[in-house]
């Protein structure tokens, strides 16, 4: 009997791969846009601006304090109420981009603030303007502190993307959910889904760990 189910599962493989592609598409777009927006917000958060900084801070706090599922429901159901017709896929990308931007914003801000103040002072003393300081002195140094958690955050966001299945986006989780209605073998079906996520996420986690080790070389103290 198990053999029968496995056979059915293998027949469904193309659907799973399509779902996997959808997961990659949603995650990829959101991570890309989220990174760009996140960096901009992060730079603002690390600055001394009086309006944008607390505003972004409040927004980020709200996003971090509420479940992603609720956020995606709000976006999906809210936009039509204010007149914008939204399909599942764009709603998902918007919600995930926002989530990504908020978490990446905090990582980037922390990274920038970790660069010793003396660096900024040295750069100012040589006459570099604000933008040049950021581009040539601050950001390159903050990357050391930003990169490992950034990759870690990407993994978290790829996992969070599974939630978009709740509004009908045909990602690999939703394919699993649909398949299990036909093939009532939850262990096999979601075992397969899990393996597919694992294949993407585990290497990224290893990358993040390796980055963390590489980035701390040369900055560890001598004897301890």
């Amino acid at each position: 009997m198990w053999g029968f189910y496995i056979e059915q599962l293998i027949h469904s493989l193309p659907f799973f791969l399509k779902g996997l592609w959808m997961t990659i598409a949603v995650s990829g777009l959101s991570l890309l846009a989220g990174t760009v927006i996140g960096f901009i917000w992060g730079i603002v958060r690390a600055s001394r601006s009086r309006f944008a900084k607390p505003l972004i801070g409040a927004w980020v706090d709200v996003i971090r304090g509420t479940p992603f599922l609720v956020q995606i429901f709000i976006i999906f159901f809210l936009f039509p109420e204010i007149g914008i017709q939204l399909e599942a896929f764009p709603a998902a990308v918007i919600a995930l981009t926002n989530l990504a931007a908020c978490f990446i914003c905090e990582i980037v801000a922390a990274g920038i603030l970790s660069v010793p103040l003396g660096q900024k002072e040295a750069a100012t003393s040589t006459g570099l303007n604000w933008f040049q300081q950021l581009r040539y002195v601050i950001m390159p140094q903050s990357m050391r502190v930003v990169l490992p958690p950034l990759v870690g955050q990407y993994v978290l966001l790829i996992k969070d993307s599974s939630v978009v299945s709740a509004i009908g986006v045909s990602d690999v989780t939703r394919v699993g959910w649909l398949t299990v209605q036909r093939i009532p073998q939850g262990l096999l079906v979601f075992g397969l889904v899990a393996v597919l996520y694992f294949v993407i996420c585990y290497p990224l986690i290893q990358l993040s760990n390796r980055l963390e080790k590489r980035m701390s070389v040369g900055y560890t103290r001598g004897k301890e």
Binding site: V62, R64, G65, T66, P67, F68, L69, V70, Q71, F73, I74, F77, L78, E81, I82, V155, K159, D160, S161, S162, V163, S165, A166, T173, G176, W177, V180, P184, Q185, G186, L187, V189, F190, G191, V193, A194, Y197, F198, C201, Y202, I205
Partner: protein, 221 residues
């Protein structure tokens, strides 16, 4: 849109929201306790002396970390019945939360215990304290101080994760929003109210984190 925001309906549904609020609290709480216990066991296996146990714990932790909670939840919800295990939705939900969060707890505890400078152990050993005395008086109190903030962070994550339990029809805060959407076609009122309740829990946990950090400030060596 604000003119059409129906506060009266929210008040009408308040009993539902309140009961779902408490459901969220107790589901998250059960998950927190379960995952704490799970975390100690897994961490003990991971940093213990037996290679086999360490490897099992490693596989457990890495599998959890590389797969989404929703998939794990569906795995148990749809999978356990086929093994003959009929569990209530609540039990399945708490099981998934416990196993998921337990892996992260294990890593938090591990980081905490390993961050205690070896000199502390040496000082305790030099005074003649035995293993249990060392653990109880020197290592564990310091480990708790170090791990408390990340554990509170994990508590925040658990509360947000509990929202996924609405997808297996468990009555909790997100489900309350879904019910309001399906019964009254008012998703904005429904989910925004849910969001507000979640934020209440979030800000409380954040305050708790700051308060505990101020209490433990003498721990800064």
């Amino acid at each position: 849109m604000l003119e059409t925001f129906n506060f009266r309906v929210i008040l009408e549904y308040m009993p539902l929201f309140l009961s779902c609020f408490f459901a969220t609290l107790w589901l998250s709480g059960a998950g927190l306790i379960g995952s704490f216990v799970m975390g100690i066991i897994a961490c003990g296996m991971r940093i213990g002396r037996f290679k086999l146990l360490s490897r099992i714990a490693y596989v457990y932790i890495e599998s959890i970390r590389s797969t989404p909670l929703l998939v794990q939840l569906f795995f148990f919800y749809f999978g356990l019945p086929s093994l003959g295990l009929r569990m209530s939705e609540a039990s399945t939900g708490i099981l998934a939360l416990t196993l998921n969060s337990g892996a992260y707890m294990a890593e938090i505890i591990r980081a905490g215990v390993q961050s205690i400078p070896h000199g502390q152990v040496e000082a305790a050993v030099s005074s003649g304290l035995n293993y249990f005395q060392r653990m109880r008086c020197v290592i564990l109190p310091q480990a708790i101080g170090v791990t408390l903030p990340p554990m509170l962070g994990q508590a925040i994550v658990l509360v947000k994760d509990s929202a996924l339990l609405s997808l297996i029809s468990l009555p909790e805060l997100t489900r309350a929003g879904q019910i309001m959407t399906s019964e009254r076609f008012m998703p904005a009122e429904g989910f925004l109210t849910s969001a507000v309740f979640y934020l209440v829990i979030y800000y409380f946990l954040k305050w708790l984190t700051h308060w505990s950090q101020r209490r433990l400030i003498y721990m800064q060596t």
